[in-house]
């Protein structure tokens, strides 16, 4: 019973976080100087001028821009609880539609990047930690270097080297598997540096623990010890980081999608912010926040699976 209550509280809190994120976005966008109807008229005509009240009236009427802000917000909130994210001002279709189409490619991109980053980080850690000064040094240097790489720069360089010059990958890859390789790497390489650094620190600490010596004395192979005992503990902080990383990846995805001309939520977001398409921006934030919350729930589960001590909520 207690367990059920705890889960209920957790879910309620998560929903609150999601709705709050969307609400903050809603109000932040109202703080943007300028008038939404004017922006829409200018978008529709490619102008940058003022319009007469008469010209703006139909838009104000249609989207309720003239209503008190509180009323607009309540209207939006009411929609949210009915599962309606509103209608895009610019694309004239439901926001759920706008986002729905663009979400899968972005999710695939970020999740793939997270997986690849994990593989790279783990590989690097297993192979180089405490393997002598040279290898260890190389490993940390590599991690520090990759963690310092700006996404966009990696993207541009990868694109030019591997797609334009060597022609190993398509330039306009869209969402095809082969075309996704470079965008995924663009996001994964810097992240792998981060995860690697954290895992390495922990790995070194754990290797010093007595149970490691015990395991070794039982005649376990070095790799066996590393994988079965040490890794298990060493990945915990990095797993925590993964929840955070997913948020960071969404930011990186905006840039990556831009460089590789890949469809996704990032492109939609930048356009929507620029055109003051308030429901779309709020909707995207809502979805990203939801993904973040779910990811962190998963992190908790992974944590418990890896470290049974934590299963009973010792955190």
């Amino acid at each position: 019973m207690n367990q059920v209550w705890r889960i209920a509280v957790k879910v309620a809190a998560s929903v609150a976080v999601i709705v709050a994120a969307a609400s903050v976005t809603f109000f932040a966008q109202l703080a943007v100087p300028g008038d939404r109807a004017t922006a829409l008229m200018n978008l529709q005509t490619g102008q940058e001028k003022l319009w007469t009240a008469q010209e703006l009236a139909p838009l104000n009427e249609r989207f309720g821009f003239d209503d008190p802000i509180l009323l607009q917000y309540l209207h939006y909130l009411g929609g949210l609880f009915q599962g309606d994210l509103g209608t895009s001002y610019t694309q004239k279709r439901p926001v759920a539609d706008v986002i729905g189409g663009q979400l899968p490619p972005s999710l695939i991109l970020t999740v793939a990047a997270l997986v690849v980053a994990w593989l790279l980080a783990l590989g690097m850690t297993l192979l180089t930690v405490r393997r002598g000064r040279f290898l260890s040094g190389l490993g940390s240097a590599w991690e520090a270097l990759t963690a310092s790489l700006p996404h966009y720069w990696v993207g541009v360089v990868l694109l030019v080297v591997f797609a334009v010059q060597l022609r190993m990958f398509p330039i306009i890859g869209g969402t095809s598997a082969w075309g996704s390789v470079l965008p995924v790497l663009t996001l994964a390489i810097p992240l792998a540096g981060f995860l690697g650094q954290v895992t390495r620190d922990e790995f070194v600490q754990v290797l010093r623990q007595p149970f490691v010596t015990t395991a070794r004395s039982r005649g376990m192979s070095d790799l066996g010890v590393r994988v079965r005992h040490v890794l298990r503990h060493a990945v915990l902080p990095a797993i925590t980081l993964s929840g955070w990383a997913l948020g960071a990846l969404v930011s990186g995805a905006v840039i990556t999608e831009n460089i590789f001309g890949r469809p996704g939520i990032g492109q939609v977001l930048v356009t929507a912010v620029n055109t003051r398409d308030l429901p779309t921006v709020s909707g995207i934030v809502l979805v990203v926040a939801a993904v973040y919350v779910v990811a962190n729930l998963l992190v908790d589960l992974a944590y418990a699976a890896i470290d049974p001590r934590l299963a009973r909520g010792a955190r």
């Binding site: 932040a28 790489l149 980081l241 995207i284 926040a289």
Partner: protein, 285 residues
């Protein structure tokens, strides 16, 4: 948040640890160079970062122009040198802002406890669920692109992560034995906080700050790359990258060299931060 344990593990300091390693030395050199460039760029070059010369545009790197020239004939190395004040300033300014916000929130949450703590923790949680880039975009659309905007955008974007750390540190330190001892000795709360809690909670975060500066530089250049950074003709590094992007297949130096500089500086600052972290012992994320 596993490593936020306090007191930190006691460590045997071998004499070797006291000498800076090769990596640290090189990092110090790079950072020192950039700091000089930021404070007194004229010491390093006698050219002007905005002086145009339409007779020598798009020249590849040479002795005369070690980083080549751009399409207005400006010397790229000079621009990179003058840009370090901006980029470093944004890095430091944004990190400072982020820490200021984080310290206020973190301390308030940890020390108040109860409902206040719950609310602040939720706020941090909400901010965390926000993609940092979106925060940046929103700040920029509200304020318009400028140096201050970029600092605010990056600062606000990275504050929640730090706030969480500060709160964790304060909670950990508060439960430490010496705090209870001080209270038991009848010391008043405020002096205890000032003398014990604050320094002990913040010390491990010094290294994190250093790490944050490197990341802020990278982030700020990301905003500039989206064309949302410091207005031209400022040679902020991200703006240089943005300008070089179209040239990458024809005049590679315009994109590659400023990029390498950002990586090198971020790497050096990070390396120093980690050295510091090892010396002080301390908080990772």
């Amino acid at each position: 948040m596993s490593a936020l344990s306090w007191p930190l593990r006691a460590r045997a300091w071998a004499w070797r640890d006291r000498l800076p390693s090769l990596g640290t030395t090189l990092s110090l050199l790079v950072v020192g160079f950039v700091v000089i460039a930021a404070i007194a760029p004229a010491l390093l070059t006698d050219r002007s970062p905005t002086a145009i010369d339409l007779t020598s545009t798009l020249l590849p790197p040479s002795w005369q122009h070690p980083f080549g020239t751009d399409d207005a004939g400006r010397d790229l190395l000079t621009r990179v040198i003058y840009g370090s004040r901006l980029s470093l300033g944004i890095g430091i300014g944004a990190t400072a802002l982020a820490f200021l916000i984080a310290t206020v929130l973190g301390f308030a949450a940890a020390l108040s406890g109860g409902a206040v703590d719950a609310v602040i923790t939720r706020v941090i949680e909400v901010a965390f669920a926000f993609p940092a880039l979106l925060l940046g975009l929103l700040v920029i659309t509200i304020r318009g692109p400028s140096l201050a905007t970029e600092i605010i955008a990056v600062g606000i974007g990275s504050a929640p992560g730090y706030a969480r750390m500060v709160r964790g540190q304060v909670l950990a330190v508060r439960q430490a034995g010496f705090m209870e001892a001080a209270a038991a000795l009848g010391h008043r709360r405020l002096p205890i906080w000032r003398r014990h809690l604050f320094p002990n909670a913040m010390r491990p975060l010094v290294a994190v700050v250093t790490l944050g500066i490197g990341q802020s530089i990278v982030w700020a250049s990301g905003l500039s790359f989206l064309g949302l950074g410091v207005p031209p003709p400022s040679p902020e590094w991200g703006a240089l990258l943005d300008a070089g992007r179209l040239h990458i297949t024809t005049s590679w130096w315009l994109e590659i060299l400023p990029g390498l500089v950002i990586v090198l500086v971020a790497l050096s600052v990070t390396a120093l931060g980690r050295t510091l972290q090892n010396r002080l012992g301390g908080a990772s994320r």
